[in-house]
């Protein structure tokens, strides 16, 4: 079956701590235009939960140029209610480990959907 191109020049958004953001920026993921609109949110101990929620909403609903949203699992736990209610296909949300918090599959929203589907939850 033929593939139909839907969108080009889509970006990856990142919501994570400084080290993770720096790493992905080194990989060429960062984008900041003249209007200072960024495709990442650097979260530290001073960042409020409201700010994180606003960034998540911006990346998933307001902006149309984001294809993947990477979010540290520790930060995802703070906005778990938003991730559980999220049902769009694009952008795809992926939980990633951070430097201080290794990946825990039991908390991943994808794994909880798997459990619901297989009936083990």
């Amino acid at each position: 079956m033929a593939e139909k191109r839907v969108q080009d020049n889509a970006l990856v958004a990142v919501i994570a701590d400084e080290d993770t953001i720096t790493g992905f920026l080194l990989a060429g993921v960062g984008h900041k235009d003249k209007k200072r609109q960024e495709n990442f949110l650097l979260v530290d101990n001073k960042t409020s939960q409201a700010r994180i929620e606003q960034a998540f909403r911006d990346f998933t609903t307001k902006r149309e140029d984001i294809a993947i949203v990477l979010i540290s699992q520790k930060i995802a736990d703070d906005i778990r209610h938003l991730l559980n209610d999220y049902d769009k296909v694009i952008p795809t949300i992926l939980e990633i480990p951070s430097k201080d918090h290794p990946y825990d599959p039991s908390k991943d929203s994808i794994m909880s959907k798997v459990k619901r589907m297989t009936g083990t939850e």
Partner: protein
């Protein structure tokens, strides 16, 4: 009473879902390993260069994403792949007057031409994404912007000219991690599609 055909279809969907799930878990472990290595090398680079030298203080005013994605629709599944701008036209126009064998002394100038064409390509893609931004009319601003975009094109240069090998290794680790997340995103999309079809088939019983 569930027909045998429907039951088999549901079983096949579940088997392919579990296969993708297995791949998802393996990719997550791979991603964790790559990020762990990336963080380790980043820490080592910070140790040799200084904590402020490798931090958000060194992020530039402008950044151009070189890791762009394209979305394709195949049947009812969306597929995400890495987007590579088509530079073949630029290359042929840059080398129009030259033969296929370039002389050594001309290679540098051709590379500069290629780089400036690449910058132009990236600038065009940024301008087309933000069509309401009308601040590119002045020629001097364009040149200044192009210089900043050139810097923005190579993130490793934000942290200095002579960076330690550990920082370059961290860049490689995180680039591989990005490739792994791209693969993960496609697996998640396939799993979501199977989930959707499974629920549809189950509800029709």
């Amino acid at each position: 009473m569930v027909s045998e055909e429907k039951a088999k279809k549901l079983d096949d969907l579940l088997i392919s879902y579990m296969t993708y799930l297995d791949e998802f878990i393996q990719l997550k472990e791979n991603l964790s390993t790559l990020m762990k290595s990336g963080h380790w090398n980043l820490g080592r680079a910070r140790y040799s260069m200084g904590s402020i030298a490798v931090s958000h203080f060194k992020y530039p005013d402008y950044m151009t994403c070189s890791y762009l994605l394209s979305l394709n629709q195949e049947n009812s599944t969306t597929k995400i792949s890495k987007y590579t701008p088509d530079l073949t036209n630029n290359n042929t126009s840059a080398n129009k007057s030259s033969s296929s064998l370039r002389s050594r002394k001309n290679i540098k100038s051709d590379d500069n031409k290629h780089d400036s064409k690449l910058i132009q390509e990236i600038m065009d893609s940024v301008v087309s994404k933000k069509e309401e931004d009308d601040e590119y009319e002045d020629d001097e601003d364009d040149e200044e912007f192009a210089k900043k975009m050139n810097l923005a094109k190579h993130p490793i240069n934000w942290f200095g000219v002579l960076v330690p090998p550990t920082l370059r290794q961290a860049q490689k680790d995180f680039t591989s991690a990005m490739d792994a997340t791209l693969h993960l995103a496609n697996i998640v999309l396939k799993m979501q599609e199977i989930q959707r079809v499974y629920k549809l088939e189950q509800s029709s019983i």
